[in-house]
Symmetry: C2
Subunit: 251 residues, 2 copies
């Protein structure tokens, strides 16, 4: 485990997530994106469309992590207040960005009204994040990347975010699938394995609870040293097999 | 909008969410559960299996809300540290709970080993939350409800949580579906509607971006006064129709 891997946090913004209307999928997309870049996602928060909440969460997260990724609240309607809140959190002005204005004028032509013009407002010092789906850009300011909440747009924006990030060593993982027993039956072996390889992380994720099908648990071994992960997986597999517990290498 | 509606926060605990291995669905389940009870979910946080993070997040949330609901980390394996962290956050001992012990002994019989016995440890003063799926209980201490991470189990536990909550006036919602135009085309009317009914909340949730199908936006009006919500929906519908914008009442 290298100490120099960047850390990150995610801030999900939107009443619709907290009311239950919408099930967020962006956190998982960003988590997988960061994992592939070797960046450690350590925390996520979800807040509603309230300026005090957004500003407090953003300031807490941007001070504690190398990168913060926000989703939601950058559209044209009155409840889209993220850009304004980011500007207030950074203590800078929110002004029309010439490049954003040009992009939006080109897209909307005669339909470029006052509401859409709001989307050209970028906190001073911010640089744009390309939106290949609907053009209205996200932006980066300092260590904060501000993206759309619509999943197709957010996912597309990550393409323009990736080259701006310092990457870390990728975390490797092996999963052993144990079937026919509960996780309580493998807990002692798993604890012993984790104590024998303290630089790795060992997780247990049971499946089948409350269903008629097979029960079991997936044991996931993770770490930045691929050889160490494979050796630990191999040792744990041998231990489980010796104990008569059915196990297969899942991935 | 009554001032007396209880507020709540959710704390999702688990490395598997932040690594991207697992897509959380519990937040949405809890959000819908609380909405039906008229409890305002104001915030959610996701942290990994790290004691310092769990304790800090729990203390921040339980001080700021009427209720906190946690998911994850109460199983039998070494990475299940939620009960211990809750005890530390409250400054109480973590001891075997006689009733939990009896439940687990009954379930596991001869397979009741040391790992499974860990699940009988409940912070002092805690009361059990029934788990009809796999028996191992969750618990409540103070204003904190500690539940399993496995969605089927967590959902079942909510049945035993519901009767212990003070409920509020339910929030009513109407959704107007606008098609064929973007949300920028309805933003001005939506802003006017929100200014005319400040006690209600108005959201806009666009759909169809980046796809070949129809585009549009769902306008959601929410509030605790059902008649006010319906009147505002009716007025906004009339305004949209007068402006030549295609709109239907979705729900």
């Amino acid at each position: 485990m290298t100490q120099s891997s960047p850390t990150a946090a995610v801030l999900i913004i939107g009443d619709e997530i907290l009311s239950g209307r919408t099930r967020d999928t962006n956190l998982n997309t960003i988590a997988r994106f960061l994992a592939a870049l070797g960046i450690d996602l350590l925390e996520a928060r979800t807040v509603g469309d309230r300026a005090d909440q957004i500003i407090a969460a953003l300031n807490a997260l941007r001070g504690g992590h190398d990168y913060v990724f926000t989703t939601g609240g950058i559209g044209p309607t009155h409840d889209d207040i993220t850009a304004e809140c980011v500007a207030r959190a950074f203590g800078v002005a929110l002004a029309e960005h010439p490049e954003a204005l040009a992009i939006l004028e080109r897209r909307y032509g005669g339909d470029f009204n006052a509401a859409r013009r709001r989307m050209a407002r970028i906190p001073e010092g911010g640089t744009l994040i390309a939106n290949p789906v609907t053009d209205a850009p996200g932006f980066r300011i300092g260590n904060v990347f501000v993206m759309a909440g619509v999943p197709t747009i957010m996912t597309a924006m990550l393409e323009d975010v990736a080259p701006r990030l310092r990457t870390g060593a990728v975390v490797h993982a092996r999963t052993l699938k144990v079937t026919g027993v509960g996780e309580g039956d493998v807990a002692a072996l798993l604890t012993a394995a984790s104590l024998a390889s303290r630089e790795l992380s060992f997780g247990s994720y049971p499946f089948g609870a409350g269903t008629v099908g097979e029960i079991g648990t997936n044991l996931v071994i993770r770490g930045r040293d691929e050889a160490a992960v494979e050796a630990a997986a191999s040792d744990l597999m041998a231990d489980l097999t010796a104990a008569g517990i059915p196990v297969t290498v899942l991935i």
